[in-house]
């Protein structure tokens, strides 16, 4: 297995578009060609080699030293692995359709937005719009998996159609806004107006919740599906511990009735 590693030479001059740094795109290039690769920077471009020291050999894995001003890391990724030591900026893994993006630190806005497949793991916190929809799009995430150890911002899983998002910490407001299908697991405390406009899909919480009035209380249930889900999660790497240990017992609400929705909120002890 060949690994290409990019180490920051110093502080970045500003926000950089790192979307060209995809393993499959770099695999056909040599180090010199990669160093000459133009990365969008403000109104112009800067060569990758001016920002990064390159080593190793291009192949199916890219190791990147992270920075909160590196945007679009792994955007459009469709195979291979990117490992990031440190944080990334906005729009990481946007439109990703395969492969792995593993961020040790935190992510900025809209990480995993419009994701179609693959796996995004975040060691720190995620910003607003995690696994959400790009502006104007009718669908958000349509596949893949997002696993966050820390907390996330507002509108996680907006307009989600398919896939799994698990957040170990707290979630911001409007989680699963207009969700159509898929699963969102929140290990910590949910924010305000969770599930607003939800049509279908599942949001799972730990502990007590106080849903919006548009959700109908269906009482305490024993749901065999939850044990199956827990077993599925146990086979995956990077699932936050707060999302594990589901026994099958859950209090269930259906909604958002104001939108004719039949999505479910599950509060699991």
């Amino acid at each position: 297995m060949s690994v290409l590693s990019l180490r920051l030479k110093g502080p970045l001059p500003g926000r950089i578009d790192a979307s060209p740094l995809l393993p499959q795109r770099l695999a056909g290039l040599n180090l010199r060609e990669i160093a000459a690769l133009p990365l969008r920077f403000g109104r112009g471009h800067v060569a990758a080699g001016e920002l990064f020291d390159l080593s190793g050999s291009p192949g199916d894995t890219v190791e990147l030293e992270g920075d909160g001003r590196l945007d679009f890391v792994g955007a459009g990724l469709d195979g291979g692995t990117i490992r990031v030591a440190g944080p990334v900026g906005h729009r990481a893994a946007t439109g990703m359709s395969g492969g792995f993006l593993m961020v040790e630190g935190s992510t900025g806005l809209a990480a995993g937005a419009a994701m179609r497949g693959g796996v995004l793991t975040v060691g720190g916190d995620a910003g607003d719009g995690l696994g959400g929809a790009l502006p104007g799009e009718r669908a958000g995430m349509t596949g893949g998996r997002i696993l966050v150890q820390g907390s996330c911002g507002d509108r996680v899983g907006e307009r989600m159609r398919r896939g799994l998002i698990a957040v170990g910490g707290d979630a911001g407001a409007y989680a699963a806004l207009h969700m159509n299908a898929g699963s969102l697991l929140i290990g910590g405390r949910p924010g305000a107006t969770t599930g607003h406009g939800m049509r279908n899909g599942t949001i799972l919480f730990r502990g007590e919740i106080d849903p919006l009035p548009g959700f109908a209380d269906c009482g305490l249930n024993q749901l065999p599906f939850l044990s199956l889900l827990d077993r599925h999660l146990s086979g995956l790497d990077g699932v936050p511990p707060a999302c594990r240990g589901l026994t099958g017992r859950a209090r269930r609400w259906l909604g958002d009735r104001g939108f004719g929705g039949r999505g479910e909120l599950l509060a699991c002890p």
Binding site: R43, G136, R138
Partner: protein, 570 residues
Amino acid sequence: MSDAYTLLRGGRVCDPAGPAAGGDLQAPRRDLYLKDGRIAAPPPDDARIDAVIELDGRVVMAGAIDIHSHIGGGKVNLARLLLPEEHRQHGSAPDGLRRSGSGLFTPSSFVTGYRYAEMGYTAAFEPAMLPSNARHTHLELGDVPIIDKGCYAVLGNDDFLLERLAAGATQSEVNDYVAWILHATQAVGVKVVNPGGISAFKFNQRRLELDEAHPHYGITPRRILTTLATALSDLGVPHPLHVHCNNLGIPGNESVTRDTIAALDGLPAHLTHLQFHSYGTEGDRRFSSAAAEIAEAVNRSPNISVDVGQIVFGQTITASADIMSQFRNSGLASPRKWVCTDIECDGGCGLVPFRYRDKAFVNALQWAIGLELFLLIEDPWRVYLTTDHPNGGPFTSYPHLIRLLMDRSFRNEQLARINPAVAAHSRLGSIEREYTLEEIAIMTRAGPARVLGLRDRGHLRPGAVADVVVYDDLPDREAMFAAPAWVFKNGRPVARNGRLTPNGEGTGWGDTIVVRPEFDPAIERRLKPWFEDHQTVRLGNFRIADGEILDRGRGGLSIVPTLTASDPCF
């Protein structure tokens, strides 16, 4: 000011509005002299010639003029907001001189100017400026570089006019109001959209015939139409009433279109995006082409000019003040999202994204109907090339349309590719006409200039603005018109081989073209309380000052002279 000339030597000048036989390409090559941004008469022998450009028999025309293109204002901006994905997909990078931008069918302001200029267009007219949106529209057009621009103020569904008409206002009061609006909104014409229908929609009417009374005001579209057309004629505004007929897009609407022509009874008028108003109800699908009947009516009515609103297959967005038709079509939205809204009780606004599909019978027939209109209307001076950008498709498809008009075998190849039922239902395949270069020059330059009253544009006589386009005479007319060899705006070379020039000359700003007929300012006594009671701004703030357009020298104003009794009427 400089006393030096630029000489464009040895071009074949195609200038139908020029000196006698100016459109004849067989005529000897003619040298063109440019000086101080104007076409100059041949100078004396000792004149200083700064630059000589050898044209080697290339085809030379005046800058092209788009008479109807939605490029700025509230509606276009809402369209951009509705489809951010368009702007994500179509980026346009800055190049050091030119600004960045985005978009294909709702391009951002800067990109709009660049794309037009690259194609040899040097003026475009925003046809649907609601008076309450006028400031926004001019601000946005102020950011459209290179080309000249102008706006038509939309009237005919505004409550002030409808209420005054219902109360029995005289024609001269309406004339004063129309003139006041032209001044206050810095417009060059007036457009009426679905006369009375947009207002009727707000009273739950979903269709309005020409002689059907408005549910609240009790007046008919016919009355609104003829009153406004008369007003512009009385005021001597060169561009006659710009009419978007009733019942756009409804099968069978050809009758209301023909009735509209008849109702105008000799009054000059411009019927816009005629393709959308030329539908019959014959055949199994109750949808058929009435292009022949409509073209016949236009041919018989020398008072009428039209633009076609040709559709082009692919994704676009329809943007119209005609909220009645847009609401009706909202179910066809692709992607499935749309907006319909009132704008300050002045009118309406509907945005429905649309994908024209060549395999869909209705879309394919619309395509054929547009081309039939182009080919069956005999006088190129009265039919102009438009897609009703972006409603039928983006303005960047004009070169493709020109090839369809000039090249019958290409046209029939395209016809063979679309839904086969269309070839059976349309006479398009049997029409032999091919536009000549001279006819193209008329429909894209001389004709629009004449119907807009632009006396120093659309031709290459001495004194004209030096908007000059030089084409390689290629057999592929699409390639020829997509990438002109040279484009000059105000005498500056702004584009070369379809790309903006890589120096500071490929930038700059065009004029805003306006018209200012005389009127009795006493109308303000009636308008002032109306603004106080019903509008969101006061009358004094509503009016747009020249300085706002001039913007400390960045913009320019060009005033179209009004017609007097001695001018040859359109």
